[in-house]
Amino acid sequence: MALRRAPDPQKFDALVLEHYGRLKNFVRRYVDSADDADDIVQEVFVRIWERAHEFNFDDPLPYLYQATRNAATSAARKEKVRARWRESTAREVPQKSESADAHTERGELEAAIARAVDALPERCRLIFTMHREQGLSYDEIARVLGLSVKTVDNQMGRALKSLRIQLAPYLKVILAVILGAGKMSA
């Protein structure tokens, strides 16, 4: 075994504190269980500690995401049964769009929005959720995925448009909710 230097503990801790939550949110897109997600992300950081000599602390996001994604997809493969179950239940939820009316509960709207996000094309969803669920800036997303900021920008626009189309029947309800909550200033 080659002699390896331990990483700078302060740098390492700062790295964990900054990125832990977002990576956990990222993993939650692949695995259901919060405990499994914790386990996966913690192992990613343990590996970084062990291989600190190979890790670029100045530009950590690309590796963090690549490693986390690998670990999460392999964990998800192992949980195929659960994933299949999740898929089937997602499909079974009735598309109530036509009958959605003013007293539709907010919970149902949330569920519809979550489904609409899940239904985005893969790359589009990845980019959208990296921004919305993991708090990455356009620039950070572009660097992690090796894309231009312009592409990220386009995909974010596409996501929004697609959400609007998919949620069209619900949007009427949303208006009702807004009006009910009082008119917002222009």
Binding site: Y20, K24, L160
Partner: protein, 334 residues
């Protein structure tokens, strides 16, 4: 929205995302003021947008403490790797299965009794490694075990004075403190290996047709009347009599314990399975014929990408690594 031009969704997203310049924000403001439909649309979209934001969860400080304790565990005390709660074997079923495969009719009763006794007397400790991990375990009798990657061993915290028995799935190297009165036995799904005081390794991964016993020093009984000694390698299956090879290169077969990944004339399909155990990532062969090619190589602490690149050169294949999944494809023009 009749007659309105298509909204600039990217611009709207940019403003929502706080990625817009002041000029772009102003542009959107003006567009909104043009029509109440625009206003309503942007409000609706913003409601949707707000719903998609997930609060970043997870207590990062707590997680940090967890990560440091994992690091400490792994560095200082390998015996504590993935230590699971003590659990008990199903003694009768196991003993019966193992003994039938070895055909040790007369041993049956005694073994059942000892299994039951050890199961009730002392809960077993289990140590498991994942891919890329090895663990060294000190047993209560002073013997040491080096557990290879993706392996699992169970043993009583205290052997007591009458017998020493461990259960192995995967691969392990044993350096056994000799005690003629108390034999040391390794049970695998292919049978029982009984030590007569020695250094030896047992390999019995689930899904492999045979288990392998390699002896570096001393003597080992792999069946009641079959004793092999230093330099011997035995392949043991559940159904056929063991195959023994003498004067084998035992050091090579045990080099994994020093961190060397060694393949001797091994078909590629077995090589990739070992790589998976070692690195925790799967390597796929896009042509089954590749699986028959044999590899002889040794790697010391090399990254997976180097190992795969080397193998690809040997078998004349190309490597693709898409979305973290590695695969080998034969070159068409040989």
């Amino acid at each position: 929205m009749i007659g309105s031009p298509e909204p600039d969704y990217a611009l709207i997203a940019r403003v929502f995302a706080d990625e817009a310049t002041a000029a772009e924000r102003e542009e959107l403001e003006q567009w909104i003021r043009k029509s109440s439909d625009h206003d309503i649309l942007v409000r609706r979209l913003h409601t949707v947008w707000a719903q998609t934001g997930v609060v970043i969860e997870g207590d990062a400080h707590h997680a940090l403490a967890e990560i440091h304790s994992r690091i400490a565990r792994r560095r200082s005390a390998p015996t504590r790797i993935l230590l699971r709660s003590p659990y008990r074997w199903q003694p009768t079923a196991w003993a019966a299965a193992a003994l039938v495969t070895l055909g040790l009719g007369s041993y049956t009763l005694r073994d059942r009794i000892t299994w039951q006794r050890s199961a009730t007397a002392e809960p077993l400790t289990q140590v498991a490694t994942t891919s890329g991990q090895r663990a060294t375990i000190q047993l209560s009798d002073g013997s040491t075990v080096t557990l290879s990657v993706s392996s699992r061993i169970s043993y009583p915290r205290n052997f007591g004075g009458r017998e020493r028995e461990v259960q192995l799935e995967g691969e392990a190297y044993f350096d056994v403190k000799h005690d003629a009165r108390v034999p040391f036995r390794v049970r695998t799904n292919h049978g029982v290996t009984e030590d007569v005081g020695t250094r030896f390794a047992v390999r019995a991964y689930r899904g492999e047709a045979a288990s392998r016993v390699v002896v570096a020093e001393g003597k080992v009984a792999i069946a009641p009347h079959l004793v092999i000694s230093a330099g011997d390698v035995a392949l043991v299956t559940g159904t056929q009599s063991p195959v023994v090879e003498h004067h084998a290169d035992v050091n090579r077969l045990m080099s994994w314990k020093d961190g060397t990944l060694e393949f001797v004339d091994l078909p590629l399909r077995d090589v990739v399975r070992d790589l998976e155990r070692w690195y925790g990532e799967s390597v796929k062969l896009n042509d089954p014929a590749l699986g028959n090619r044999t590899i002889t190589a040794s790697f010391n602490d090399a990254p997976l990408s180097d190992v795969v690149a080397f193998i690809a050169r040997v078998v004349d294949a190309t490597v693709s690594n898409k979305a973290g999944s590695i695969s080998l494809t034969p070159r068409i023009n040989r």
